[in-house]
């Protein structure tokens, strides 16, 4: 018979090494899948993970793709660390985009250095307010934040649909569901000519630094960590649980809102129905792959972004089905959770004893 026992001595270095192990296992598993599909596994993996970033444009695209993932995941790490399950980052991203986009349309054909900062700020506030709905409902009415935040994703999506089809649609756009292109003053400055990497990356880096500062150097960060480890201890220590829940949701929502506003003022340049290819959900994988640690999340977001680019490149060069990208994301999470289980639990194979027969 098999017995599962909890390990008491989990080494810290192994804890941070398992994500790397998970990535290697994913590469191995991916190679097998490519082989079964009839592709040369080495060549396919090369097109998947190396070709996309073999030139400057590719590197810039990797950062463009990783920026929103990293921002959202950083925000989510505040929630997840304190045992608050915010699953609705996608909705907060969209709502931030709606508010930021609305302000951008308000400033249509309006020049001035202050336009973009106002848009970015309003996007962050939009995401923050939207995230406060599940937080307040949880703290004062005891609702389940997983359900509320998830259902609010649909609310945000439908609101965006309504706005781009109706009141905000481009008056010269033949009723197509999209707004005007924002004015130049409302767009993120491009860092290099010919590349799409934009100033949003600085916002992301500043956010990562601030998160690290809050999580590891402030009393609030300490409270968040303690509540995550043991809610009872936190209560016993006299921490104001309700305020903290609302604060972590606000941080998380603001980050998602920033990601949304970064997308619409960066590579997209307008509002339409597809401003996010489910970044808010993918960022959940990123947050856990990065061990809810700011530095870890930076690397995790780059790796997950690469699976998107790789799926495109592999399809262009080898006509590998596009959905292999999602298979890779799933595999990374699967192997990570699997190795976590083995990390925290010991599996003992015991021989059958006579008295059990």
């Amino acid at each position: 018979m098999i017995k599962v026992e909890k390990r008491n001595d989990v080494s810290r270095s192994i804890y941070f090494l398992t994500p790397i192990l998970a990535i290697f296992l994913t590469l191995f598993g991916g190679g097998i899948i490519f082989f079964i599909l009839g592709f040369n596994p080495i060549e396919a993996l090369k097109f998947f993970f190396i070709t996309p970033i073999s030139d400057l444009y590719g590197l810039s695209e990797l950062l463009v793709k990783a920026t929103p993932l990293c921002l959202i995941a950083i925000g989510l790490s505040f929630c997840f660390k304190s045992n608050n399950w915010n699953i609705g980052a996608e909705g907060q991203l969209i709502f931030g985009g709606i508010v930021g986009g609305g302000v951008a349309l308000l400033f249509y054909n309006h020049d001035g250095f202050y336009v973009l900062p106002i848009i970015i700020l309003s996007g962050a506030i939009g995401g923050m307010l939207f995230a406060m709905i599940p937080a307040i409902l949880k703290t004062y009415f005891n609702t389940n934040e997983i359900l509320v935040s998830l259902m609010l994703v649909y609310v945000a999506k439908l609101l965006l649909d309504y706005l781009v089809v109706g009141p905000w649609s481009n008056p010269e756009g033949f009723n197509f569901p999209e707004t005007r292109q924002f004015s130049e003053s409302a767009r993120m400055p491009i860092l290099f000519d010919g590349l799409r990497i934009h100033a949003g990356i600085f916002i992301t880096l500043i956010t990562v630094f601030l998160s690290w500062l809050i999580l590891y150097k402030t009393y609030l960060g300490f409270q968040i960590k303690v509540s995550g480890l043991s809610l009872k201890t936190a209560k016993y220590a006299g921490y104001k649980g309700k305020t903290m829940i609302i604060i972590v949701f606000m941080i998380s929502g603001a980050c998602a809102g920033l990601a949304g506003v970064g997308e619409i003022t960066g590579p997209i340049g307008q509002l339409h129905r597809n401003i996010s290819p489910d970044y808010g959900f993918t960022a959940i994988i990123v947050a856990f792959l990065g061990r809810l640690n700011p530095i870890g999340i930076i690397f995790a977001s780059l790796i997950v972004a690469l699976t998107y680019l790789g799926a495109e490149t592999a399809q262009i060069f080898l006509q590998v089905p596009k959905y292999t990208g999602q298979v890779f994301q799933g595999m990374i999470l699967f192997f990570l959770l699997g190795s976590d289980y083995l990390l925290f639990f010991k599996i003992k194979f015991l021989g059958l004893k006579k008295n059990e027969l």
């Binding site: 400057l56 695209e61 033949f174 009723n175 292109q181 010919g194 490149t313 399809q315 262009i316 596009k322």
Partner: protein
Amino acid sequence: MYKLFLRSLISVLFLLGFSLNANAEFKVGFVYVGPTGDHGWTYQHHEGRNAVEALGIKTTYVESVPEGADAERVIRQLAQSGHDLIFTTSFGYMDPTNKVAKDFPNVKFEHATGYKREHSNVSTYSARFYEGRTLLGHMAGKMTKTNTIGYIASFPIPEVIRGINAMTLAAQKVNPDIKTKIVWVFTWYDPGKESEAAQALIDQGADIIMQHTDSTAPVQVAEKAGVWSFGQASDMQRFAPKSILTSIIDDWAPYYVERSIAARDGTWKQQDTWHGLKEGMVAMAPYNSAMGSDLVKEVEQLQKDLASGKAHSFTGPIYDQKGNVLVAEGAVADDGMLAGMNVYVKGVEGDIPQ
């Protein structure tokens, strides 16, 4: 010193990237909005690609490309990896296509259903689906018992409104009591929403279901409810063999073949193409014999007349919902009016969502 090093590194990487991707062979790229197996819009574009491939021309496709920030990268990668002609097959690729076209003046771009041709290497193309709708309207007007036609519409853009109007006008011609009920689903592809819409229309008394969305869900609901239906984009007959009277087929193959050959031979020129039954970009699936041989003959004749130009889907007099004249008696609507159509004709129920 450090900066200098960085700069030279960047330029070396750049050169490396370009030289690796340089390729002399003529290649055509396709960008799809859905999976190749959707049995609707993307499926038909993929069939068109297969026809190009059959000529011995090398092609590449990328499926399920979101219409957001990712589209530009995919189009650019195709341009950069040596594709000489790129078809972007969804409206949402309009701005990304024009943006990439600016940076790759030697690559030709073809954007489906859009209206922006900002550079001389961008063409646009679409099909006169409304001619097919006229045929559906004729059949619907003859086949309905409840005088109510259910129409599942996607977005209130001119193309969709044109289809609704063309269908209603043709149905009124053979059955003046006809009413068109519309449900807007605000999606091109969502089997769940589409089947709910079909059911709602049937519950309101519609005994004909037609769709301007791409999944096979509505015809399957119609089959179950025992009402008539029409397939969209591809021949959907096998999904609802009893219910489907015919399908409007988008046949992109001849166009893709013609443009690929032109690009390969250096005769490609910018143009705005709007082909219909005449050129075969709009085709009809076999007619269901359940509607009787007389009606089949009528419809086949009408199809010939539309193709030859003897008949026109928008022949006056045409009135809007308030009774104002849109097209005078004896006149036909010109392409400019069709391209910007944003009012319902008389006989359509409800308002266009604004």
